[in-house]
Symmetry: C2
Subunit: 302 residues, 2 copies
Amino acid sequence: MIDRAVAGRVQPDTTDLGPGDDAAVVRAADGRVVVSSDMLVQGRHFRFDWSTPEQVGRKAAAQNAADIASMGAWPTAFLVSLGCPPDTPIRVADALSEGIWAEASALGAGVVGGDTVQSDQVVLSLTVLGDLRGRDAVLRAGARPGDQVAVTGRLGWSAAGLALLVADNRDFPELVDAHRVPTPPYRRGPDAAEAGATAMTDNSDGLVADLGHLCAASGVRVDLDPAALTPDPPLRAAAQTLGVDPSAWVLTGGEDHSLLATFPRGAALPDGWRRIGVVRAGAGVTVGGRAWSGSGGWQSFG
Amino acid sequence: MIDRAVAGRVQPDTTDLGPGDDAAVVRAADGRVVVSSDMLVQGRHFRFDWSTPEQVGRKAAAQNAADIASMGAWPTAFLVSLGCPPDTPIRVADALSEGIWAEASALGAGVVGGDTVQSDQVVLSLTVLGDLRGRDAVLRAGARPGDQVAVTGRLGWSAAGLALLVADNRDFPELVDAHRVPTPPYRRGPDAAEAGATAMTDNSDGLVADLGHLCAASGVRVDLDPAALTPDPPLRAAAQTLGVDPSAWVLTGGEDHSLLATFPRGAALPDGWRRIGVVRAGAGVTVGGRAWSGSGGWQSFG
């Protein structure tokens, strides 16, 4: 299975030694490596009746790489461990690998190692390495009162897509696709770092939840501007069909892996970033100055 | 759970940024990072009726770190992803974490990140980073005919311990402990690299199996010297009790995570290494010039 996953793959220049030995060797040109791991479990994080194995692989790599982008870094290499039942068709493992490689290749990254074991459920565990290219990492803990709060990427699309899948509604394929395969605006993470972002994270658990983590780390409050959070037209249309409030998707929908950052007051936002609020003294996230009364976001361990 | 795993832990100097943000930042002083991942599944790779969760954690970290040592490198940081059922007692997760930290700390490494998710079985996925300290990695593919074959560390102890656990025999605690928590001779990996080892790997699947991988990668045959592979006294005693042949443990028992390397003909072996055979032209592993007729080793995906 490992041989099939690596055969014929082209590694980037940053891969000094790819898969096949006891360990891989990856370049870390500036003397540091940024690193993050994610674990995805079948039935909890993905369903093969909702997504193809290739989509699951792409999503796994995308959410993992978004954590690197949100530090202001570039992904260089993935390691992929796969647990699966012995009766898993080889085409499923191949397609998972294909999806991971597709996302990695688009990022200029390699898949350099991993493990394959037998388990009752399909479990996918990814680790991604990244390169800060000499810059400081942008942490969650740098926002200061007065900073602008900005986002790049979609808000609520993945949650809307999930709601449509649950309702078995096929009328909004662009939203369902956004749930199946998020498209994090990777390069805008390093752009934000270059532009002086004071704090950054990615939207994995929902806007209010992830900004809440940023607020806690920075010791500040974020006040979101409701006028800047108007749901995108497809969300409004889908919400009307389903009879729900699309604002909840925007405020609490996770898994879009958009990037959230704070920038100094008055700083010009880099390309693709839009202002959605302001940092204040205090704690927590408010919307138009008021506490958000809905759920805080998606919890992976409920 | 993640908070509990990281609270009060001391990170080494190589950890620029530890857990708690979207990603960690680890030093890679020579501009490269060695990296390897392992996945362990309850019921297949460990059993909580045979090992404490702390022992499982130690073993997971040890087998992961042995892959770094066998490249000639030093472990610097671990990432740990844990999947577990919602009714898993918090003390189990704490003890797993404690075991991983114990092994990491003994190595001077940190635990810098990971993930925690819900799954049906306990699944532990580790990634370890390492530092080559300016030297080339020692690959499996460097052995040349005429080289000495050498080992450092135990052979067959873990397999003997497993056989005793299966037989519910408690008379050889040192062997059972060796199965529960392997003690890879980590520092002898970099020693071997310094001494000019031409190829190296760790004994995770069994002597014949792992040397077979080295032979395949190097395009050579290894001929083992039976006189150098006499089972250690506790193995002989345990084998007598169980009525089995201890040579099978020595030749095919995995999970000791001893290190196996080849050195140039005539080179003095570094401290702790002992000669067990010679590299010849050809393919595969022979014992005293003859094909080994037993099983090749332990397969994690049978």
